[in-house]
């Protein structure tokens, strides 16, 4: 028993030393997480197809992704080169590496347009802010999305006003039940989500979106969002869309009490 105890004690000491030596001063691979891959898509809404590309330049790392809404696991398809999406879907991806913790997920919606309304006639009041006029009002129906890199972009219409009124005349009558506004939120850059969007046909309110959390602090830096507004199902020729900006940047923000920015790049009907 004594010998056995001695032997075990030695083994214990040995194993402790080993533990100390390997855990030691330096950071261990298992404690470090990979960064999510960066993605590029030519437009998050599209008529026929959109091409998705991921980037993550680190040796022996693997990007895995799904387009069917399922969680990304080590068994999901391996990304090797850019691919096309041809219908509406949610694209998700993560980076895997045998030494490091798997990255956070990157995910985004890609939406196939049901109707081409690129010939719609649009007026907007007030006009967008100087640097964010995109290619004029037509940009709202051009099937081209902006990205989070909104500076020097020709896709985003940015407004620094309390309220924006968009009048939209469709090129032909359409039976519709939904209107979708694509917008960006980037609170660090003073860009907030709208507080309310009201959709009128003539003077009749046909649909409304209320956002109770527009003033709350969002996790993460910036996001692109489709705001879906159900409308009374009917045949329509034109709409008036009134977008209500948050009145003031909330108190928790460094720019408290300033007027926030509102960024939209597309109006979609279904």
């Amino acid at each position: 028993m004594k010998y056995l105890l001695c032997f075990f004690s030695l083994a214990l000491i040995f194993s402790c030393q080993r533990q100390k030596e390997t855990i030691g001063t330096f950071v261990d691979t298992g404690d470090i997480q990979l960064i999510a891959p960066t993605y590029k898509i030519d437009s998050v809404f599209f008529k026929n197809k959109a091409t998705v590309a991921f980037t993550f330049a680190y040796p022996n790392s693997e990007i895995r992704y799904t387009t069917d809404g399922s969680e990304v696991t080590a068994a999901s398809p391996l990304y090797t080169h850019p691919f096309n999406v041809r219908k509406s879907c949610k694209v998700k991806a993560k980076v895997f590496h045998e030494d490091f913790k798997t990255s956070d997920i990157v995910e985004f919606d890609a939406k196939q347009l049901k109707h081409n309304i690129s010939k719609a006639i649009i007026t907007i009041a007030p006009s967008p802010g100087n640097n964010y006029t995109a290619n004029g009002t037509k940009s709202l129906v051009d099937a081209k999305s902006g990205t989070l890199q909104f500076r020097n972009s020709d896709r985003w219409l940015g407004f620094n006003k309390d309220e924006v009124v968009i009048n939209l005349s469709l090129p032909k009558k359409l039976e519709l039940s939904k209107l979708i506004v694509h917008q960006m939120t980037s609170q660090n850059s003073w860009i907030f989500s709208p507080q309310k969007i009201a959709v009128f046909s003539g003077s009749k309110l046909i649909g409304q979106y209320l956002n109770e959390t527009a003033a709350e602090k969002f996790p993460g830096d910036a996001s692109l969002n489709f705001i879906e507004i159900p409308i009374e199902q009917a045949t329509y020729e034109s709409f008036k869309i009134v977008v209500h900006n948050l009145e003031k940047i909330p108190d928790w923000h460094p720019a408290a009490n300033q007027t926030p920015w509102l960024f939209i790049d597309e109006i979609i009907v279904e």
Binding site: A11, T25, D28, L34, T38, A57
Partner: protein
């Protein structure tokens, strides 16, 4: 009885270790992270220089230098101790400085065999020269005489560089983007730069250094962080050339042997909380990016956009290289953490 229980339990645990329990297998997998590329690879020590924050607090750790005695000097904007002096192992030697609320830029210059520090304070809107133990010897005040400023608030110096002849250059990196060129007496000789996107102008002239790698022909290397560029100027302020590092929001360039080192505060699209370290070779090509993606150049000589790869750094703001080629990383807005040491392997 108790003792026997203990023995039995520990024996069991030991047996578990011996016979390869999952615990042991997990331990076997411990592997030090090695970051960086080519000949510049490092192990990471996140605990280097950690002190009791009740006594020696840091806010933003802005910049670090090594002095002639081999000590590592940290500049922070916590006015309880703006300057914290460590040995290379991270042991505290001394701390001083309560008068530098906007302590941002730290440059060490040896003058007649003595070390001096130049502190660019972006809240005081001036640069202060001190002895190595903190005695103020000269103040470079708001440069009204430049004719470029109607208000001291528009002058927010971030960095200094001192030439062999004693001339002092100051980068107004958070202000109006001018570069001030003084003689050693503090007389303004020249002002150049200014805000803009053209080659000779700056979006954020965050750092400046004198590139002495070609001894016969020293030049100024000035950061344009917003444009992800280092811009080279003659000593009299003429624009010469640009090194573009897409995706790398570079802070001040630091020259060590044949390399340029720089903390890259953000990466990719400039999102906060990201960042890595950049190391350029003698040809000003990015050869190693500890914590970042693998640097890859296209056939036309342009660098593919860089991005953070591993979550190690959070807004790294400066890099100090010691005489053993190890690195010390000061971080901005990282939750008041002390510097990170990278040990070269």
């Amino acid at each position: 009885m108790k003792r026997r229980n203990f023995i039995q339990n520990s024996s069991l645990a030991t047996a578990g270790i011996l016979f390869g329990s999952p615990v042991l297998n997990a331990m076997e997998l411990y592997k030090d992270v090695i970051i960086g590329h080519n000949n510049h690879k490092y192990k990471v020590d996140l605990n280097w220089g950690a002190l009791n924050s009740n006594f020696y607090p840091v806010n933003n750790c802005h910049e670090m230098v090594q002095d002639s005695k081999g000590r590592i000097i940290l500049l922070t904007d916590d006015t309880k101790n703006n300057v914290i002096v460590y040995d290379k192992s991270g042991k505290l030697i001394e701390a001083w400085g309560t008068e530098y609320p906007g302590a941002h830029g730290l440059t060490l210059n040896v003058e007649n065999g003595k070390d001096f520090l130049y502190i660019a304070d972006n809240k005081r809107h001036e640069v202060i020269k001190t002895t190595i133990d903190g005695k103020v010897v000269q103040v470079f005040k708001f440069p009204k005489e430049s004719g470029k400023y109607d208000d001291p608030a528009k002058y927010i110096p971030t960095e200094t560089a001192i030439a062999a002849n004693g001339d002092v250059y100051v980068a107004d990196g958070y202000g109006s983007q001018y570069i001030m060129h003084y003689n050693e007496k503090g007389e303004l000789l020249n002002t150049f730069g200014g805000r803009g996107t053209e080659d000779h102008l700056f979006g954020n002239a965050h750092g400046i250094v004198i590139d002495t790698r070609n001894n016969a022909d020293p030049t100024l290397l000035i950061t344009d962080r917003m444009q992800n560029k280092f811009k080279r100027f003659s000593m009299d302020g003429k624009y010469l050339s640009t090194t573009h590092l897409p995706g790398a929001y570079v802070c001040r360039p630091v020259i060590h042997k044949e390399n340029i080192y720089t903390a890259t505060i953000w990466s990719g699209d400039g999102s906060m909380g990201t960042g890595f370290i950049s190391i350029l070779d003698g040809e000003n090509k990015l050869v190693s990016a500890p914590g970042g993606s693998t640097p890859t150049y296209n056939d036309d000589g342009t660098l593919q956009p860089m991005h953070q790869a591993l979550k190690i750094f959070q807004n790294p703001h400066d890099v100090c290289i010691d005489d053993d080629d190890n690195l010390y990383i000061a971080q901005w807005n990282s939750g008041k953490t002390y510097p990170i040491k990278l040990t070269r392997v």
